[in-house]
Amino acid sequence: MTAMALRFFYIGLFSIGGGLSAISLIQAEIVDRLGWLTAEALVDLMAIAEMTPGPIAVNAASFVGMRLHGIPGAVTATCACILPGCLISFLILRANDQLRKNHRWQYTLKILRAAVTGVIVNGGAVIVKNALCSGGSGLVLLSAVLFCGGLAVYRRRKPSPMVFMLAMGTACGILRLVLSWCLA
């Protein structure tokens, strides 16, 4: 269990740049070196991570930890995996407070915010594209109509995002289920 915690701490420490780098580290460490997970299970895991909420590294740690040591394993692996990132980003936030009065740092942040926004908008575009294509090629048109309709309702009524996601998600899910029964 300690060995597993150390492994996931290491993965958490060196997965800089997001989900994909975490996956390649898991591939190298957990699959190739230690054999705690088969290559097939890793592909499954990536598919599950696509389907479920949450960061992929947390998903992988919970999945592997559960398989190896049950619930204590899942909790340990997950905590070990997120610890380095939490500590380092906390320290950067502290450093930022120290630098608050520095003109040059202020200006750097201003430009950096524009860059972050660009990255976030790109992330949004990818999410929309994946959502429209995820139902298979036969459903793209229906998905697009549902997406546009949902967007119109969302913008006009301005409901709470949480309530909206649950309501629209369930409604579209039921619609698709009914459709697939009718067509079958």
Binding site: P53, V58, Y107, G169
Partner: protein
């Protein structure tokens, strides 16, 4: 403070439990929740935290949650933010590791996931468009150009976001010197 911690925990629990896709998807929603709805932080502060989270290793969402928590309620807040963020995936993945085959084969689950993905896409599209409009309306020419260039590069090339952000920071650092003199 207990109230803040509880609000933080439940907010992150709901956001993390519903936000499919990982990474940056959740940031516009956190902005909406913590800046617009609760008024705890400004939009700029959350963007800064996102940049710091990206510069750190690990998952962006968790790293932003820890910073929001620390800023609002110290160590207890950081803990509550992180717990709320990791509990949903921890519970879901632990359960799934036991019954993955049944889950992935179920047509009901597939239909629900399809619907949820569409709904999340609507909310995320709206939120990220609002963020882009903020820069387009309020920013100067340089900031608009930086945002456009980063968006274009990440849409069309495989350059990692960490490098795009590092480039943006470097540009700001260099131009700040010129601006001051």
């Amino acid at each position: 403070m207990g109230k803040i911690c509880w609000k933080l925990f439940t907010s992150m629990l709901a956001l993390s439990g519903l936000t499919f896709g990982g990474g940056f998807v959740i940031i516009p929603l956190m902005q909406r929740r913590f800046a617009d709805e609760l008024g705890w932080l400004t939009q700029e502060e959350i963007l800064d935290m996102t940049a710091f989270a990206r510069a750190s290793p690990g998952a962006v969402t968790v790293n932003v949650a820890v910073q929001v928590g620390a800023r609002m309620a110290g160590a207890a807040g950081a803990l509550c933010g992180v717990l709320g963020t990791i509990l949903p995936p921890l519970a879901i993945l632990s359960a799934l590791s036991l019954c993955y085959e049944a889950f992935s084969a179920s047509p009901v689950i597939a239909a629900l996931l399809y619907g949820l993905r569409l709904a999340v896409a609507v909310v995320v599209a709206d939120a990220s468009a609002a963020m882009a409009m903020e820069i387009l309306r309020g920013g100067d020419r340089l900031r608009r150009a930086v945002m456009g260039a980063v968006l274009l590069l990440s849409l069309t090339t495989g350059i990692g976001t960490i490098w795009l952000l590092a480039g943006g920071a470097l540009l700001g650092w260099l131009l700040a010197g010129r601006n001051a003199s």
